[in-house]
Amino acid sequence: MAQVSLSNIRKVYPNGFEAVQPSDIQINDGEFVVLVGPSGCGKSTLLRMIAGLEDISDGELRIGDRVVNDVDPADRDIAMVFQNYALYPHMTVEKNMGYGIKNRGASKEEIARKVAEAAGMLNLTEYLTRRPSQLSGGQRQRVAMGRAIVRDPALFLFDEPLSNLDAKLRNQMRIEIKALQRRLGTTAVYVTHDQVEAMTMADRIIVLNGGRIEQIGTPSQIYHNPASTFVASFMGAPPMNLLEGRFDNGTVMINGGTALMPSPLQRSGPITVGIRPEDVLLEPTGPLPFQVDIVEELGAHRLLHGRLEDQNFTVHVDKETHVSPGALRIALKQDALRLFDVKTGQSL
């Protein structure tokens, strides 16, 4: 168990491409941190630098009290779960799980005991003598987890471990992984491009974009107070509505003319207004006109896609509310508005 600290970590490839801009991250002991972002945002590179599979161009990486920049992956006291599991195809489940500690000189009894323990935890006991090719996707995923657990490392690293599973299995494994990490109390860094995974599993989320950290915070902070329009639109499905607007005489206006609220800031000029789809109420006497084009039926709730002052807008309503395409009026819940700078995209 350990805390991890990245100070000014940077990655530049020989061709000059800066995959990760200088970044500071502190990960506490036992914390579950999720790195999330679109593909190419540098999240995997960051993880691979922590693992030691990628050289660190600049900065200092500590795991526990040790600076590990130049330490071999095998000696960093970490375990990694790969996207395609990377199980050794010619070894049985048992051998796969025991290979790491065998290389560290563990005795036969110790290997057998630890493998049995991990297998029990993961419901793999009856598959110990099978080969990876004889297992289902979910079982392989579990073996990969087991391999990490047997190592009893200071730090778990996960590189999109669930992206090869079908949706149902993914939901189930999400919960299992989280519960397991809780139980073992091992610090974990988890990379994913799926914001649902990030929201549900993380103690803290780190949102990356273009090699830069956009925001670090708890899932709730990230969702409710996105630091930028990028975070606002990346986290949450459907994403936050972003409308073009402006400050006008101390009022926040949407382009088209509707006034939303008194301005909290002494500013004027254009602005981006963010509204979460579920922060909207359907009210016949509401202040805002909303034109519904399509109703998307999702069972537990419905999404109304349409236009607000000729700008795309989505509203989330519960399953009891029946709506047909056409003109409606809406109101906003208390504290629903988020304001962003138009140029930088930063929250105001």
Binding site: A51, G52, L53, D72, P73, A74, D75, I78, A79, M80, F82, Q83, N84, Y85, A86, L87, Y88, P89, H90, Y99, G100, N103, R104, R147, R151
Partner: protein, 303 residues
């Protein structure tokens, strides 16, 4: 020809009837006819050579190849295997068979060992001169021994390696076909496997022995078959490098057989044809019995 005309007959009658099934059948017959013709083309010559070993030399001289069974097969094969022959009376079929096996197996094993190591170095290490090594090795691709036969012979002579197994085998190994094949295969091994192994604390030697070699088993088997057949079937190089009859391989022995066909006495047809059959048996058996590996190895080497 006969088959073709029948099919066109049926085709005309078929037109009048509800067609679908009938058409499939006719094209099926054509397919099988073509394939059977092909199989006969491949098989018949060897069957005839085999059957002809059942006859006496004078009989073969008079009547040529046969398609019936004769009584002298055992005698001809036993002569081919055990009768001493050649200028120095130093060689039997048995001896040639042994030499061929040494050449085939030695060549295949040597080539696999050397190429697998080289391919591993090229694919899995950050080498400063990797590109140079790559080109040095792969320039040899497709430049077969036949092209540089004379200077190679000269080199072997200067090294005093004529009439040795080493001189026979090692120069044949000096081309990169297998290295290229193993390189392609290793490149297709998922990256994460090496990374997982590194995290699991396996160094380069351990990774090679614990993971890569077991993973490559099928590929190694496939290469072995191809290389064994290639080595066994060598002709020009053994012809030049082995002048002592006790070093002859079966395929090299064919040259001696052919050389005496022109002589004044009655050639030993029965024995010669038996030797030709013996020269075919090991490589054919290997290719037929391990054909799945063999086909995989052959067809994947070009990717």
């Amino acid at each position: 020809m006969a088959e073709l005309s029948t099919t066109s007959d049926t085709l005309t009658t078929a037109k009048a009837q509800p067609v679908r099934r009938k058409r499939i059948k006719i094209s099926n017959i054509v397919d099988h006819a073509v394939l059977i013709a092909g199989a006969v083309l491949m098989l018949l010559p060897v069957v005839m050579v085999f059957l002809t070993t059942g006859f006496e030399d004078t009989d073969i001289l008079r009547n040529g190849l046969r398609i019936d069974v004769g009584p002298h097969m055992g005698e001809n094969f036993s002569n081919a295997m055990f009768e001493r022959s050649g200028f120095t009376e130093a060689i039997t079929g048995m001896r040639m068979l042994t030499n061929s096996l040494i050449l085939g197996v030695g060549f295949a094993l040597g080539k696999i060992a050397i190429s697998l190591l080289a391919a591993y170095a090229i694919v899995y290490f950050r080498l400063r001169f990797a590109t140079l090594a790559f080109w040095i090795i792969f320039t040899t691709l497709l430049l077969p021994l036949e092209v540089r036969i004379l200077p190679s012979y000269e080199a072997i002579q200067r090294l005093g390696m004529t009439n040795t197994y080493g001189g026979l085998i090692i120069p044949l190994i000096a081309s990169a076909t297998a290295t290229f094949f193993f390189r392609q295969f290793l490149m297709s091994v998922p990256e994460e496997l090496a990374e997982a192994a590194r995290i699991d604390g396996a160094g380069p030697v351990k990774f090679f022995i614990d993971i890569l070699v077991p993973l490559s088993r099928t590929m190694i088997a496939a290469i072995f078959i191809i290389m064994f057949v290639f080595g066994w079937n060598q002709y020009l190089w053994p012809t030049m490098i082995t002048t002592e009859e006790s070093m002859f391989t079966l395929v090299r022995g064919i040259k001696q057989i052919v050389a005496v066909l022109e002589g004044g006495t009655i050639p030993e047809y029965g024995k010669s044809l038996a030797l030709a059959i013996i020269a075919m048996i090991p490589p054919v058996l290997i290719v037929v019995f391990f054909q799945n590996w063999f086909v995989k190895g052959l067809t994947e080497s070009d990717k």
